[in-house]
Symmetry: C3
Subunit: 348 residues, 3 copies
Amino acid sequence: MDFGSFDRRQFLAGGGAAFVCTLAGHKLFLDQPADLPKLASGVRVPPKVAAAEGPAQTRFVSDVSTAAANAQRQYWIRAEERRWDIVPTGRDEMMDKPINGKTRFPAYVYRAYTPNFGQPLGNGRIPGPLIRANVGETVAVHFQNRLSVPVTMHPHGIFYSDEMDGAYKGKYTDPGGFVQPGRTFTYIWTARPGTQGLWLYHDHGPLDPVPLYKGLFGPLIIRDPSQPRPDVEFFLFMHSLQPIATNLDRLFGCFNGRAYAGNTPTLRAKVGQRVAFHVVALDNDFHTFHLHGHRWTDTDGSVIDTKTMGPGESFTFEFTENDPGRWFYHCHVFSHLHMGMNGWYIVS
Amino acid sequence: MDFGSFDRRQFLAGGGAAFVCTLAGHKLFLDQPADLPKLASGVRVPPKVAAAEGPAQTRFVSDVSTAAANAQRQYWIRAEERRWDIVPTGRDEMMDKPINGKTRFPAYVYRAYTPNFGQPLGNGRIPGPLIRANVGETVAVHFQNRLSVPVTMHPHGIFYSDEMDGAYKGKYTDPGGFVQPGRTFTYIWTARPGTQGLWLYHDHGPLDPVPLYKGLFGPLIIRDPSQPRPDVEFFLFMHSLQPIATNLDRLFGCFNGRAYAGNTPTLRAKVGQRVAFHVVALDNDFHTFHLHGHRWTDTDGSVIDTKTMGPGESFTFEFTENDPGRWFYHCHVFSHLHMGMNGWYIVS
Amino acid sequence: MDFGSFDRRQFLAGGGAAFVCTLAGHKLFLDQPADLPKLASGVRVPPKVAAAEGPAQTRFVSDVSTAAANAQRQYWIRAEERRWDIVPTGRDEMMDKPINGKTRFPAYVYRAYTPNFGQPLGNGRIPGPLIRANVGETVAVHFQNRLSVPVTMHPHGIFYSDEMDGAYKGKYTDPGGFVQPGRTFTYIWTARPGTQGLWLYHDHGPLDPVPLYKGLFGPLIIRDPSQPRPDVEFFLFMHSLQPIATNLDRLFGCFNGRAYAGNTPTLRAKVGQRVAFHVVALDNDFHTFHLHGHRWTDTDGSVIDTKTMGPGESFTFEFTENDPGRWFYHCHVFSHLHMGMNGWYIVS
């Protein structure tokens, strides 16, 4: 049997069998499932969140409503639970072998909706929907929590006031840092000049990092509209799905919630196209992104084909495609590669 | 009980339960206290250190004395033992909870004195005193060891002859690489053009890395006086305090010897000020520095809000403050964040 | 006794006691020897490799042969097994102590030969021979596998068609991605403009990463002939030799297949020389290269003396030597330094 049995040491290779945090008085380990609703019941609602809606709160809500109405971009996003299959084909095409055992778990996903949460815009996925802004624009994200535990949206790159950072801060927490089940909070974020590029958003609520391990993260891109757009763009998150979040018996190295070539995104481009890779790392570990048969000019001007990334880092590289074939992209950390962090890039 | 019991796996998350080195025939592990005086008794005094003071040594001391007298900057620094509290408030303000259990240990600190070790310049701290030089200047550091084991000062960035590198090199060790208890050694270092920026110094003696784990490190800055100075500057070391050094029952992720918001430095600035963050990583692990609500231009010209750092790396970023509020700075490695690597940055 | 007993926790410090991959249905761990011939017998020969030599294959071989004949550079390289001593002096000069216990193992090496595999060009070593190309040139590498398991050569930096990437790709594998024992495959690679600099090559066959852990990697440099050449150049691989590959009872942190100063390369230069360090990281871990007494200008223009590197990354720095003496180079991760990743750089 290939993967049927739990093996502690598999976790060590992924930054695994380890203590990750203490929530509500419970120590949590990456190889043991966390009971989030139970943990949430032990978390105090912060005073500013619990406060009856006095004049200050009313004024704040009114101000946000006005800002949202004036924003150039509006998003309606729900946090939802969704059954998610990490290896839907049941195979690893890199090693040409079956992946046995259970690979589904109840994920947490950010899911986009039409205005006022009218209709879902497709299924919820890992990662969440792409949030777009042009330089100079303001974005309003109406965030509704349909999970059973408090969560948030915390963005990188884009600017915001501290009430809009979506971060749990103990007794200093603002309402946007502790969005309770069933509640909606509107985040106002501004794409200042100089911040063009790829960023991310993720949960940063009182149960962080567990909801994030269950899938609560997504890409955010700020564009300079004076710059040419690539012909094709890929958004890839380097992360892991571990028992703390999945209750499965092993860990998976992932791109976009999926493990092993044929399950991770199979990317496609054509010779002559301008191609952009947008890559984010979001894990307890460090990763090294590598693409076969291609090299790119890094932000410092050097030409590379492999890049180290830490948790919360993101970068973009572009090139004009000139090399047809079936190529690998993967994490160059050997054990991560072999736990699923590989995929196909097919150029025709 | 929150933290009362020793848990092996907490250490794994911090690069912990592991072998770190063999000293004097003893294997040392990060989760087991090291008996430094006992280990030191098993270390041979290197021949150049043990040598009676012949003519060569007398000439060397005379040369150093002359160089020190001509140096633009002189420092008097002692290595001392000092009781140190890692969590003086007894609370974690990020999670709004108490930190139970013992949090004090006998630290090793570098402590600055007035000339000729007249009076201490404040208490010894983790990290040690800021050593400053302008480009082109020579610095003399009169280093006195008041610990019970041999230690040194090894700087990054600034230049020196190999006799002044403060590194234990086995049988090739110079006196500055093995400063015995009670002895004083004067290091002569020169700030060559091109080396402006933030660097560090740390013990690199025969018991390295254990004294360093106990607190023997500090910042060193080389300035170009033709450049404008920021209005406010912060110096932050990303590191850990582990049982090997503390004899406490768990590990702490730290900024400047302290763990958890409210204990780590609470940084303060005002809108309109030019603010500089000087960040150093010095651990067995890699870290990722993240600051909420702010972005900076990295050395390669890209705008970022998160940066990966390895042991011995240092960097500076600056911005003009424009965003009032209560912000987090933290390590973006989840387990490090939750083991204490977070703090407040408050802008008024 | 210093190192006589196996200690699980030594491995944790090096990214060790962990699961690394599953090959042919067997889980492999870094602290347990892998039986490569047995594993190889469980790997299916991919269809394109197994196919009888039809017209397409004949045409491919003919095309490659023509390309090789036209290539500006030709190399004849064999993969061979060779007894290798990780600590030939039996001593650690940094700590001035003996290294007891066994330090030899049957390594896998790439070994260069004169044309048509006439005569070996010296002994096979870790790392393999330097492959050189000037910008614009094509390189033909005639690769012969004299091991008992299928292996390959996969390069970074230089360009190639996907049939020439030397990567096992499951059922999509081309003959160059599965070079069977006794077979020869000719790789054709092209050094496009913009790719000048240091790169690497390594096994990427069906048993990857184990053959690579046994030594199957080497440096590849692409030069711009219009640029001045340094007077002296060093090529350093940061890696580890672990029980999975060595069947020895502990792990070694290595530069170029050797552990501990006096065994790792003792580098030598003279004042006034232009010196280039070419450094590659190739491990399951991240490393931080540090050189005493010297600083260099990084690709982004900043001056540093320590650089973090992930698996598969490579970089070059140059300086004009001005500082005589006996200096250390080492990995600044404490436990890696103490497991052997240190060496001498001697300037006269």
